[in-house]
Symmetry: C2
Subunit: 185 residues, 2 copies
């Protein structure tokens, strides 16, 4: 859980996940593509063709989560790759320079004490599984790539989840966000 | 200050900083070399020869520092490259898996409330300038590369500073540390 894992998302003309739609939420969108593949680690990649676009991130240690929150999350969350999780969402996000200039305690206060980001995510466990990838320190166009997997029965719940997060104080610091929806064929 | 800057330290047979000594503090050392160069950003590098070794890191946003601490640090600290700062130290550090498995609030409590890491560093400002580079998410052999610059008059003070830090609770989580001392010729 705490060993960094490099993950690359490649969009192209074939793959595991069919792209349903790509929508810009804030700022510039990503180019159209038919399929998406997720490659974990540095193993040789089964690249089928030149990707239409690719985003890279790293699963890292917790940055804001307290022990008490980690315990509650661990008790409820499930891993990726569940057979019933036929739907997915890839949501790359970039925050403003003002966000990154805040001190650690200021960012924590906005994320949780004001915006309840961790608490909101908890409400949708275990159905909506989530993994966060950090990209900012890799010189990527986004700061984070969030990946979600859930069953068809939770598509409406997922809409509510992302809408609740986008209505928070924390999201006032988001300057680019793209929402990519996918399903397994 | 908050825009990530890629920095690479290259050891070789010529350069800006003469290597005085390389000492393993915990774990494996680094190979001997005569000189060290620091390259900032992704500009074309004036590589004189194949480096004996190279370490890379990124200056990133604060991870533990509160607004109150940032304000106190900013009021006292000075930048790198002061003409009188003829001495330098390069201290790469790797922490244990147990450290990275701790939650954010647990790591913060060890670093500052127990170990007074930020407070100790403050005591040596402005004479001992410091910049921290994050390496763990880049797949580097160390988690951090700390870089210090100070005048000859503060060599003894620098010894005291590093010894005080090595005596803390935080340092019980250090599994590899190398201490490279340098001077400008």
């Amino acid at each position: 859980m705490s060993t960094p894992l490099v993950v690359e998302f490649q969009a192209g003309s074939s793959g595991t996940w069919r792209i349903e739609r790509i929508a810009a939420v804030v700022g510039e969108s990503l180019p159209d593509a038919g399929y998406l593949n997720m490659h974990e680690g540095n193993q040789t990649r089964a690249v089928v063709d030149t990707p239409a676009w690719a985003l890279k991130g790293i699963t890292s240690n917790t940055r804001y989560t307290t022990r008490e929150e980690v315990t509650r999350l661990s008790a409820r969350q499930q891993g990726l790759g569940r057979p019933e999780a036929m739907c997915a969402a890839l949501i790359p996000i970039r925050k403003t320079a003002a966000w990154w200039a805040l001190a650690q305690d200021e960012r924590r206060a906005i994320i949780e004490e004001q915006s309840r980001h961790i608490q909101i995510g908890l409400e949708y466990l275990p159905a909506i599984a989530r993994r966060l990838h950090h990209s900012r320190d890799l010189g990527e166009p986004f700061d984070f790539v969030a990946w979600f997997e859930f069953p068809v029965s939770h598509k409406a719940a997922f809409e509510t989840l992302v809408q609740r997060l986008r209505d928070t104080e924390e999201w006032r610091y988001v300057e680019r966000e793209v929402d990519v929806r996918l399903y397994r064929e």
